[in-house]
């Protein structure tokens, strides 16, 4: 399989604080790779480095065969940050127009993409409303739509389904599967264990280290667990025993 994201021996330090330590991971094309870990484990730092916003202290990250950060490669990435990075004074539509223009979309193409993306997240009827009147879940969905606008080859989602109701969460996951089938590679972080089951590959992150990786089935079988949570506990505990 063709690897799209390669993280090689990456460590990240903020002053004396070691956030990530010797991270190795590979994400293959069409995969939905889930980065599972509690808050503070370093998930956000890792995805920010992959998205090209942060720089590793040591080690290297390459995305689509070019070493990050690289502006050209960044056009191929859709990034949805943990905070809803939206302009509250603007309407949903104006937000989407702004973000799509940054990626060079204009005219009919821009309109089509905005329609598609907002339809995907069920926001078509609310596009005229200013974003500061949106609910938390609506803001998340608009953020997701903004990340999808330029039809990126790689989608990086930092805790995408926080505050979204179960029905909508399911429909978002259905969309992610569809995107993945059509060739998009997806990297998603989550601290929700049952959500991790939905990914095709998993990396378990704890205290800045990858404690285990593999498909959800493998991880469960290897530890004879019935759930991902149990598996996580097993690896986390094993790590502590060392």
């Amino acid at each position: 399989m063709q690897s799209v994201i390669q993280v090689k021996n990456v460590s990240k330090k903020y002053r004396s604080h070691q956030v990530l330590q010797n991270i190795d991971l590979t994400v293959n094309k069409n995969e939905i790779y889930g980065l599972l870990g509690p808050s503070g484990a370093g998930k956000t730092t890792l995805v920010k480095m992959i998205a090209g916003i942060e720089i590793p202290t040591t080690g290297s990250i390459s995305v689509l065969d070019s070493v990050m950060p690289k502006l050209n490669t960044m056009t191929q990435i859709g990034f949805m940050a943990q905070s809803d990075a939206l302009y509250g004074e603007l309407s949903g539509k104006e937000n989407l127009e702004f973000f799509s223009s940054i990626y060079g979309l204009k005219g009919q193409k821009q309109k089509e993409r905005i329609d598609q993306a907002s339809d995907l997240v069920n926001l078509t009827n609310f596009l005229q409303k200013p974003v500061n009147q949106y609910s938390g879940g609506m803001k998340r969905r608009l953020s997701l739509a903004a990340a999808l606008l330029h039809d990126p080859k790689i989608l990086i989602l930092d805790e995408p389904t926080v505050g979204i109701d179960p029905v909508l969460r399911q429909s978002i996951w259905d969309e992610l599967y569809k995107l993945s089938k059509s060739g998009t590679t997806i990297l998603v972080t989550t601290h929700v264990m049952d959500e991790a089951e939905k990914c095709s590959q998993l990396g378990m992150l704890r205290d800045g280290k990858i404690i285990a990786s593999g498909s959800p089935r493998e991880l469960k079988d290897n530890t004879s667990s019935t759930s991902i949570e149990e598996a996580f506990l097993y690896y986390g505990g094993a790590h502590h025993a060392n």
């Binding site: 090209g52 950060p69 990034f79 940050a81 990075a85 940054i102």
Partner: protein
């Protein structure tokens, strides 16, 4: 009990935020020091050109005070007056005496007249009688009716534009960071310089409007004295606004919240008040003079006043425009570099 808990929490928060703490204590001291330096300074020493056919008068004036500079030709004295090398020209051609004041600066006007009157009083009686006969005061710029507002108005226009644009642009660039949209933008292929230029242009549109409205209001509603071109005043205020805009967005990189942005006001904005033409730089402590060269408002305030009171044209003020342009470019480049903190590319 609950009040105590609140007090303790506030004290703790304050101690954590060392900058706010420092600002509370240091900023007022800084400003008081500046005010002290500005106001307790020496009296204004006028420079007065003297043209006279009376050798005795010339000698007397020359020996009485170093303020008097003797000219042989009337035209030379007036040339220097228009170039602001002199504050006044005293022409004693009996039986008439003419004082021509430069006129832009009330402090200089007053000081010149006082100096001339004082000196003439010390002269022997027969001279004084003669000189008092037809004494006439002329103004090169302005007039005796010039109000205080005519003098400080041009400065206020520049100052308020600078102040508000600085604060608003700074806070909104800061918001971009605190709401996470800056990070979102840095995840796109947008370049750092594009972001800075975009900000300057976006806000620039509003500053054009702001400049036009404030200047027109001062001239047409407040009836401030206006000797030069309206367009040139708008151009200068616009340049000042862009300087404030680029400085505000630059400094917002060094603030983590709106409060810290406001703390830049006493550090960055208030000191400029003293150097922007409201007070006479010549009378300040010597070491303060050079400080005025690094203050954008010095150039803006001076240019606005020269246009509004002296009626200066493009030829006289383009230097100031270039300096303000230079400041803006410098601040923008520094901002591009400061954004490196968030993304290397």
């Amino acid at each position: 009990m609950r009040i105590k808990a609140l007090v303790i929490r506030i004290i703790r928060q304050f101690v954590r935020d060392k900058r706010t703490l420092a600002m509370m204590f240091i900023a007022p001291l800084l400003i008081l020091t500046l005010v002290n330096l500005v106001f307790s300074s020496n009296d204004y020493e006028p420079k007065i050109g003297v043209v006279s056919d009376q050798q005795m008068v010339v000698d007397k004036l020359k020996s009485s005070d170093k303020a008097f500079i003797i000219y042989q030709k009337r035209s030379e004295a007036h040339q220097d007056l228009s170039e602001e090398k002199l504050d006044a020209v005293l022409e004693v051609e009996l039986p008439s005496t003419t004082i021509t004041l430069e006129g832009s600066n009330p402090t200089a006007n007053k000081a010149s007249i006082m100096m001339i009157e004082k000196t003439l009083k010390t002269m022997p009686a027969q001279d004084t009688e003669k000189t008092k006969v037809n004494s006439e005061i002329l103004y090169l710029h302005g007039s005796a009716e010039m109000e205080t507002f005519d003098y400080i108005g041009p400065f206020l226009i520049g100052f308020f534009i600078f102040f508000f644009v600085f604060l608003i642009s700074g806070v909104s660039f800061l918001r971009e960071r605190t709401t996470g949209t800056l990070e979102r933008l840095l995840a796109t292929p947008m370049r750092r310089w594009e972001m800075v230029v975009g900000y300057v242009l976006g806000f620039g549109i509003f500053t054009i409007l702001q400049s036009a409205i404030i200047v027109s209001f001062a001239i047409y509603v407040l009836d401030i004295m206006m000797a030069g071109s309206l367009w040139l005043v708008i151009l200068i205020t616009l340049m000042l606004a862009i300087t404030a805009l680029s400085l505000g967005t630059l400094l917002s990189a060094f603030a983590t919240n709106e409060l810290q942005m406001i703390q830049f006001i006493p550090l960055v904005v208030v000191p400029q008040v003293f150097f922007s033409g409201l007070f006479t730089i010549e009378t300040m402590a010597d070491w303060l003079g050079p400080l005025s060269y690094i203050m954008p408002l010095t150039y803006g305030g001076e240019a606005i006043r020269d246009i509004m009171i002296q009626g200066d044209g493009w030829g006289d003020i383009y230097g100031n425009v270039l300096v303000l342009l230079g400041f803006s470019l410098l601040f923008m480049i520094l901002n591009v570099l400061a954004l490196k903190k968030h993304r290397r590319l």
